[in-house]
């Protein structure tokens, strides 16, 4: 899929709202170009692969009946399939347990209340050789079959489903390998002749589950109270407060000897509010908070203050004029700059895009070259769980291929050094750096975790606005744009379409050169192309800001974080945003039938810029 997008961790909107509305040491890889020995041709029993006996001996002693069933069935499967004409050279089972609670509140009541317990299994199989296997090129999806597993600890029942999935996957993988061989024979030679699967050290780690206690009735009360805070704002046509509580456990066993048990838990609170301008433009404010447990979420007083700010922003946005297309100096807040880097740079540094000949490959041959101003460096570090007091959504210990997460220094002092690698090798980068990620049911690819931009050329945050004004004056423009907050963005990486990106700002201000008060505007998106945009950064603020979101791409939805300081650009282009033209509601909201109430006065906007 050539389009990748980032959005805040939004809750599941109710039916109507959804209709209305419509995210360690790493640079050593280059020094480790060790291609593991594989057979050069047919004879599909790779000498490099560990023997069946060694695979089985890697078994980890455990009292977990699910893990026992996985180990037993994996051992049986690889032994029996090992005698077939086309034996797998790699087989892994990953079982995901997901206990999920979602409470949705609106205007003081619970709108939705659901609790779901599920267990999925991904059976990943590779036949052929690590040099050329069934997952090559467009056949990548043939590497995994998925299904639902029994919830309890009945080992026989679990083994039976794994057996069926393994059989189904084998019957997909073998024909896929034949197709791959045929395609490879009849097509022109690929530019990147890297193997299909890297060799990695087996990992063994059994994490301890530590599910946080969840006081359901207390949270129901808080959700109701928080959502009721929107009642006093007649301009907020729809608002919801969604709490998602997830306790999950990922178990992985592979024929290479990897055994991982990775429990995790998260609580996510999403507050959304929506209004509609008189011209029909829907306007949205979203605040998202994420933490491993309840103690990491903000207190009710802080959340209520956020609600008041959201309502004030929406009230101001309703009255704000629509901005015109513009190209000139621009200041991006830290959160906006973070999303900008995620879309414009991060997706183009994902390893698999460097060998896919359908991809734009903007940076593939720029390793060692300057791609950013010298004062900027970028790392992707999933090993950091918290930054500047904020929990990072893209943190993990092992990626979905069982490789330990690593801090990857992708750009150092403006010079491209590395890519975000899964176990799909690319030219000059033969190993994973722990960024192979996927949602259950899909094959992993190189993905971002916590993308962190750092700068050595900073000015205090309080001086950034003046820097913008100075640049506006220098260029002889009437005004510059300040992008205070954004709701997400997307980018196109295929070579069949323009290498464009779009970032969707919410709070945009015109900052005038002649000293006029800053003016809030609406209805524009930031657009551009990566190579041009990245060279126009003049300076940055000193403070890092975090954007937590969910990122969607070929391997599905994965939680990510992007971190950056505010940034001043010499030039940024905005275009008009498409929108609906339906009128705002005809009647006043319930509770406001007799005209504006005193509460309305308390919801007035504060149209000021606070870079």
């Amino acid at each position: 899929m050539p389009i990748s997008e980032l959005s805040p961790n939004r809750g599941q909107l109710h039916v109507r709202a959804a209709k209305l509305l419509r995210l360690a040491a790493a640079s050593f890889l280059a020094a480790q170009l060790v291609f593991f020995p594989v057979p050069s041709d047919a004879g599909d029993k790779p000498t490099s692969a560990p023997s069946t006996a060694s695979r089985v001996s890697a078994r980890v002693s455990t009292n977990d009946p699910v893990l026992k069933a996985m180990q037993t069935e994996l051992s049986r499967a690889i032994t029996e399939l090992g005698t077939s004409d086309q034996p797998p050279y790699y087989l892994s089972y990953t079982v995901y347990d997901q206990d999920f609670i979602m409470l949705t509140g609106a205007y003081g009541s619970l709108l939705d209340d659901r609790a779901i317990a599920r267990r999925f299994a991904d059976v990943t199989m590779r036949v052929g050789t690590p040099d050329l296997d069934n997952t090559h090129g467009q056949s990548r999806s043939s590497g995994v079959s998925s299904g639902t597993l029994p919830l309890g600890n009945d080992q026989d029942a679990i083994a039976r489903v794994l057996w069926e999935l393994t059989d189904r996957e084998y019957k997909r993988a073998v024909p896929a390998l034949m197709n791959v061989r045929t395609d490879t024979a009849v097509r022109a030679e690929e530019e990147d002749k890297s193997p299909d699967f890297s060799k990695e050290r087996p990992e063994t780690h059994v994490g301890e589950a530590d599910p946080a206690p969840f006081d359901r009735s207390a949270w129901e009360g808080e959700i109701k109270r928080l959502s009721a805070a929107f009642r006093k704002y007649p301009d907020v046509y729809f608002a919801s407060v969604v709490l998602q509580v997830t306790n999950s456990n990922s178990r992985m066993v592979s024929t290479e000897g990897t055994t991982l048990v990775s429990p995790s838990s998260s609580m996510r609170l999403v507050m959304e509010a929506q209004t509609r301008a008189d011209d029909g433009m829907d306007l949205l404010r979203v605040e998202t908070f994420q933490a491993p447990n309840a103690t990491g979420l903000p207190g009710e007083a802080e959340l209520t203050a956020k609600i008041e700010k959201m309502a004030a922003d929406l009230s101001a946005l309703r009255k704000a004029p629509v901005a015109e297309p513009y190209d000139g100096p621009a200041l991006l807040s830290g959160r906006a700059a973070a999303v900008f880097f995620h879309e414009v740079l991060g997706h183009r540094l994902e390893g698999h895009r460097q060998r896919d000949e359908e991809e734009g490959q903007t940076f593939t041959k720029k390793v060692g070259q300057e791609v950013l101003p010298k004062f900027l460096s970028v790392v992707d570090d999933p090993t950091i769980h918290e930054l500047a007091g904020v929990k990072l959504a893209g943190a993990y210990d092992f990626d979905n291929e069982g490789t330990p997460a690593e801090r990857v220094e992708v750009i150092k002092d403006g010079v491209l050094k590395n890519f975000l690698m899964s176990r799909m090798p690319i030219k000059n980068f033969s190993e994973s750096n722990g960024h192979g990620r996927n949602q259950p049911g899909l094959m992993p690819t190189g993905r971002q975790g916590n993308l962190i931009v750092t700068s050595t050329q900073t000015v205090p945050e309080t001086q950034m606005r003046q820097k913008l004004v100075d640049e506006v004056k220098k260029q002889g423009k009437p005004y510059g744009l300040y992008f205070d907050d954004i709701q997400g963005g997307f980018t196109i990486t295929t070579r069949q379409l323009p290498q464009a990106f779009q970032v969707l700002p919410v709070m945009v201000y015109k900052v005038y050169a002649d000293g006029r008060t800053d003016e809030l505007v609406r209805g524009v998106d930031i657009v551009g192309t990566p190579l041009a945009a990245l060279t126009r950064i003049l300076t940055t603020g000193a403070q890092k800001h975090v954007f937590n979101g969910v990122c969607g791409a070929e391997s599905g939805q994965v939680p990510v974080a992007a971190v950056a300081p505010s940034m001043l650009f010499s030039e940024m282009e905005v275009q008009k945003r498409a929108h609906q033209h339906e009128r705002p509601p005809l009647l006043p909201p319930p509770g406001f039938e007799d005209g504006a109430s005193a509460a309305k006065a308390g919801a007035q906007a504060k149209d000021e810029v606070k870079p």
Partner: protein
């Protein structure tokens, strides 16, 4: 596979059939006479937060919903399904899915035009949304208000589309009416709703379902 899906007997329809006459009366008289059917519906709904919220918004929409160059509604219908759903799925003797959901769905139909020719066509065939699970009046009314607003706008669009389409064809000079007239019906049994809910909760425990499903699949 076993699934328990219970639509509690909340499938109620409130039709304000004589809406147009009432509106006429309201526009010509500062103190319009109360419609007996309306008074009876209010009396029957007393004590039920959901019914009262529906009636309040129905009355407000009936008397005030009007867009420039679009007729007011002559009929509005609200239908609420209160759904509590427990799903359990098992394979090879083990439970593999266990879900419990509870939600209320509101369907709003707003008709403009008249019984002979109205907006029940294309986008004018109704709007759905979910409603709060408790009976908080303001929260309920907020959702009802939004859905009614959208249904009315859709009805305006639908009637225009329908009339434009009809102009393309030769039509019967005396066609069958689009909507049949019907006397207002009031049938409210709040106690039966409550009894049904208790029967549901007491007769089916999750453990019982698990046990039953396992037993079925093992034999």
């Amino acid at each position: 596979m076993s699934a328990l899906h219970r639509k509690l007997a909340f499938a109620l329809a409130l039709a304000m059939a004589p809406c147009v006459p009432l509106l006429r009366a309201a526009s010509g008289d500062s103190k319009p006479a109360l419609d007996p059917a309306w008074v009876a519906a209010r009396a029957a709904a007393r004590g039920d937060g959901l019914l009262e919220a529906l009636l309040t918004e129905l009355e407000r929409s009936k008397s005030r919903l009007k867009m420039d160059q679009v007729q007011p509604p002559y009929f509005i219908e609200y239908r609420v399904n209160d759904v509590e759903d427990y799903g359990a799925e098992a394979a090879f003797g083990a439970l593999r899915e266990n879900q419990h959901t509870h939600f209320r769905v509101l369907r709003v139909i707003v008709r403009i035009g008249d019984y002979k020719q109205d907006s029940f066509y294309g986008p004018g065939q109704g709007e759905s949304t979910i409603l709060p699970l408790d009976n908080d009046s303001l929260a309920l009314r907020h959702q009802i208000w939004l859905a009614t607003d959208e249904a009315y706008k859709d009805a305006g669009q639908a009637l225009a589309e329908k009339q434009a389409e009809l102009k393309r064809f030769t039509t019967d000079a005396n066609p069958v009416d689009d909507f049949a007239k019907s006397a207002p019906l009031i049938a409210v049994d709040l106690e039966e709703n409550s009894r049904g809910r208790h029967r549901l909760v007491s007769s089916v425990s999750r453990r019982a379902i698990r046990h039953r499903v396992r037993a079925l699949l093992r034999h």
